[in-house]
């Protein structure tokens, strides 16, 4: 996190942004895992 961002945003706004970006990343990881488990199941069936 750079100094410019820290100066521009108030702490609550910054907090919201960090949590939102973490949630997006967690969503992507979970979606990736779901796809991976489907792929593993198919690979094991073949």
């Amino acid at each position: 996190m750079n100094l410019m961002t820290a100066e521009k945003l108030d702490p609550m706004e910054q907090r919201k942004q960090i949590i939102a970006s973490r949630n997006r990343m967690l969503g992507l990881v979970l979606a990736g895992l779901a796809v991976l488990f489907f792929a593993i199941t198919i690979a094991k069936l073949v």
Binding site: M1, P11, I18, I40, A43
Partner: protein, 303 residues
């Protein structure tokens, strides 16, 4: 409590902080050596299961790196090189790093066991335990031989890659393990020679801090000499072809030459001119990449 007098709430850790806990640059070497171990195996691998195996090796390495940083947060704060990591910089709660490390470690072992095989999963679990407990907690703060024995942790990925492909431990994965095991001390001690002041400040008994430069330089040379028969062993024992043999001979000869220059050099830590050490450190990374790439090329081009 009024808002005017309230303490500012600390910001939560960013996802990039969690990412940096996994030591992505170390992970790239782990992925590469694990992949080479898998591709060098003489059996075809299902691409999906191969991908899962490499992913589990990488995630397991990331988990053990997070546990390492959780345990060493106080030491990291004392070293310039590591002071900006999420924990010493105060961007993350220690418990978050610990939980993240445990979840990655346990998850990678479970998925490896269920999807690929339990032998690979057991070795992966042991490699995580080896790095997080045997190396980080036990050896690193106690003995200047920490790197020698701790080098085993980094030596597991190609072995796990091979076992994930074949489901068996044979001579070749043990040789792949030995190559990285004996490569680690000269690689790491070359680095420790030019960042010695940092380790001394943190009280970590790295070889240059405890035994001095002369002894460290001599030991770098000894390990470089040992690298020659170990790197050549797959060719001599007939488990790799001439392409690997010629590459290993040439690469290790240069490794030996650069180590010899370090052994006869008399620079001290903090000198502006620690070129032989820096050159050996840089070359050692290239050495491992090219050696393992040669092993895979040999398998696919020569058979």
């Amino acid at each position: 409590m009024t808002t005017a007098t309230a303490q500012p709430i600390p910001l939560p850790a960013d996802w990039r902080d969690f990412w940096s806990l996994t030591k992505p640059r170390v992970m790239s070497l782990v992925i590469f050596t694990g992949l080479c171990g898998m591709l060098a195996a003489p059996v075809p691998v299902n691409p999906v299961l191969g991908f899962v195996a490499i992913l589990c090796i990488a995630v397991g390495a990331g988990g053990s790196a997070a546990l390492n940083q959780w345990w060493e947060a106080d030491l990291d704060a004392k070293m310039k090189r590591t002071a900006s990591r999420p924990l010493p910089a105060g961007r993350m709660e220690p418990g978050s790093a610990r939980d993240f490390g445990v979840i990655l470690s346990a998850g990678s072992v479970m998925v490896m066991g269920l999807a690929v095989g339990w032998l690979a999963a057991v070795i992966l679990a042991f490699s995580i335990f080896y790095y997080a407990v045997i190396y980080t907690i036990w050896l690193k703060p106690r003995t200047p031989q920490n790197i020698v024995i701790g080098g085993g942790a980094g030596a597991f990925p190609p072995m796990i890659g091979w076992i994930a492909a074949t489901g068996d431990i044979t001579l070749m994965p043990v040789l792949l393990f030995a190559i990285i095991f004996f490569w680690t001390p000269p690689h790491f001690w070359a680095l420790a020679l030019f960042v010695e002041t940092d380790y001394a400040a943190a009280g970590i008994p790295m070889m240059p801090v405890v035994a001095g430069h002369k002894s460290t330089r001599r030991q770098i040379l000894i390990y470089a000499v040992l690298m020659l028969p170990i790197a050549m062993a797959p060719f001599w024992l007939g488990v790799a072809g001439w392409l690997y043999g010629a590459s290993a001979l040439l690469l290790t000869a240069v490794f030996l030459l650069l180590s010899l220059r370090v052994a006869v050099f008399r620079g001290e830590a903090g000198d502006m001119d620690m070129r032989p050490e820096k050159r050996l450190f840089g070359y050692s990374v290239l050495y491992l990449f090219v050696l393992f790439a040669a092993l895979v090329a040999d398998r696919f081009l020569i058979g």
